[in-house]
């Protein structure tokens, strides 16, 4: 009894233990908060839980002395629980009053994603509008992109020299926009190589990209009236290992000495390994990627580089597909909207001192 009194005198129990169902979750989670005890010798708190209709308290966790909240993520949905927090020092343990009962509930909408939801709706509407308009109005204007002249010129040179054209559609999967844009451009490049009769080499690093690229090239050769010139060794898979792929393509570049190298798609650190080897063989190089970190290297080592969005625009421009052109329009207007929002919010924040950053 005396001992117990000493304990009670030295350490105050945690107070104000509050519990609530965690919002915006898939259920099974309860948030417990409490007021910390002031004593410096406390090393942490033990969190205890009791089910309704049960006598037993189970220990959930031990948290540090600065913690004043804990999320119980092992609660059963719709089952009421209550919690108790125990302040622990090296030698003693002082429990709080038990909290009230609460149960966890799963939710159907995560309200923290509301801005993204609104954004998705607005942007979708913009794009659908412009894609629809593109179907009616065949003359949507897209400004010419400088790099595209280079494509023609480079292919012409390959023909003159009677050497091959190398086309690397990046190292990523079909899920990457850059890969899809790249395959659209590959289709056009393949039509030209088919027409000029220059060899085409397309090494790939993803099995699906390989399958699709092969079909794309085959179709282009048919469209160019040269189905006989297509053979199964134009497009091939090398490996999905980044640097093994780079080693193999470097080998191809130095042995086959293509007159033109296209490095278009998604690239990582291997970008400069490929681009600089290609430059050393004297090939004309056209690169295009939306991998921002790799753009500086393509810019320095290639003759022409499609920067980020230019790649998508090029793929729309070169194919003259109205639906793709419509999407580029949609992108332009979305960017205008973003710029407008940045300016409007800044004005609101500076002039009226509104807390705009807390709105989303």
């Amino acid at each position: 009894m005396i001992l117990l009194l000493i304990i009670l005198f030295t350490v105050t129990p945690p107070t104000a233990v509050q519990v609530k169902d965690l919002p915006n979750d898939d259920g099974g989670k309860i948030l417990i908060t409490w007021q910390r005890a002031p004593e410096p010798e406390i090393i942490g708190y033990r969190v205890l839980r009791q089910e309704q209709n049960s006598e037993e308290w189970e220990t959930l966790a031990f948290v540090g002395r600065l913690a004043n909240r804990y999320i119980d993520d092992e609660a059963k949905n719709y089952l009421p629980y209550r919690y108790q927090i125990i302040a622990c020092t090296d030698t003693t343990a002082v429990p709080s009053e038990p909290s009230g009962f609460v149960s966890a509930v799963p939710h159907w909408f995560d309200t923290s994603t509301l801005p993204a939801f609104i954004g998705t709706i607005i942007l979708s509407l913009i794009f659908i509008y412009f894609i629809n308009r593109a179907q009616r109005d065949k003359n949507l204007f897209i400004r010419r992109i400088a790099g595209l002249d280079a494509v023609e010129e480079a292919l012409g040179r390959a023909t003159e020299m009677g050497r091959a054209t190398l086309y690397v559609p990046g190292l990523s999967s079909m899920a990457d926009v850059a890969t899809i844009a790249s395959l659209n451009i590959l289709g056009e490049v393949a039509k030209k190589t088919a027409k000029f009769g220059t060899p085409l080499i397309v090494p790939t690093s993803d099995p699906i990209v390989y399958t699709v690229a092969r079909e794309v090239v085959k179709e282009s050769y048919t469209a160019a009236g040269r189905p006989d010139a297509f053979h199964q060794d134009i497009v091939f898979f090398v490996t999905d290992q980044q640097f093994a792929f780079a080693a193999a393509v470097d080998g191809i570049m130095t042995r086959e000495k293509p007159a033109t190298n296209f490095l278009i798609g998604m690239f990582w650190a291997e970008s400069l390994i490929l681009a600089e080897t290609g430059a050393a063989t004297g090939a004309i190089q056209i690169a295009g990627t939306d991998a921002i970190a790799q753009l500086p290297f393509f810019i320095t080592a290639c003759d022409y580089t499609l920067i980020g969005e230019e790649l998508y625009a090029a793929s729309a421009y070169i194919s003259r597909e109205p639906l793709l052109l419509g999407a580029i329009k949609g992108q332009d207007y979305s960017k205008a909207l973003i710029t407008f929002l940045i300016i409007i919010f800044t004005v609101m924040a500076l002039v009226f001192n509104l807390p705009v950053k807390n709105w989303f």
Partner: protein
């Protein structure tokens, strides 16, 4: 000098030198290393997918007694869809290869839509907005203004709907200036990391292999 006796160190060192020899010119040593590398990488990929994906996610679960029948049927169905990739080799039904591609591609596309907006567009938009708080010290405030102008200029560089005329002309030119400064900075900043990689390889060759440095 304390040269290595472990055969694997020797193999690693010889392969390292074979790759470096490419800097001089393409040669048989590089060619061997390159072809070996592609072979091993594919062999390793087979191993990885077998042991880390197919066995634990498919075979073990289909084979286990504890797995409910519904899960087994579900898993076998997925396996059949995956096996549709093989129809590419059968011309008459080769279009079936589009089904597994559609599942993977559709899901990835759908999942990337809200993420592109939430994690990138909204977050970056928010970071670009200037508030009075940005001027907590005048320097930070000026930098925030420069960033805002730079962002708008860069965005305008990628405006394709009209020719670069009027306000767009100076704005997009400012954009390319920002872009070039940014690219230069990324380039210069990366040099140190790449030299570190080379130092790492030299430490392997001179240290682990030849024992010249400890």
């Amino acid at each position: 000098m304390n040269i290595a006796t472990d055969p694997w160190i020797w193999i690693g060192a010889i392969l390292t030198l074979a790759i470096f020899s490419f800097l001089y010119k393409e040669n048989p040593f590089y060619r061997i290393a390159e072809h070996l590398y592609v072979g091993i990488a594919n062999g390793y990929a087979i191993t990885f997918y077998w042991h880390r994906v197919l066995v634990p996610s498919l075979f073990d679960r289909v084979g286990a007694q504890t797995t409910p029948l519904s899960t087994k049927i579900w898993l076998i169905a997925i396996a059949i869809i995956g096996a549709l990739y093989f129809t590419r080799f059968i011309p008459r039904i080769s279009w079936l290869v589009r089904i597994p591609i559609a599942i993977v591609l559709g899901y990835a596309s759908g999942a990337s839509i809200p993420r592109a907006i939430d994690a990138e567009i909204i977050r970056q938009l928010k970071a670009t907005i200037i508030t009075r708080h940005s001027f907590a010290n005048w320097q930070a405030g000026i930098w925030a203004v420069i960033i805002l102008l730079g962002v708008i200029a860069t965005v305008s560089y990628f405006f394709f709907s009209t020719e670069r005329k009027g306000i767009l002309k100076p704005l997009s030119y400012t954009g390319i200036i920002f872009i070039m400064i940014g690219f230069g900075a990324s380039f210069g900043y990366t040099v140190m990391a790449r030299i570190s990689l080379f130092i790492g390889r030299l430490q392997f060759l001179l240290g682990d292999w030849l024992g010249l440095i400890k």
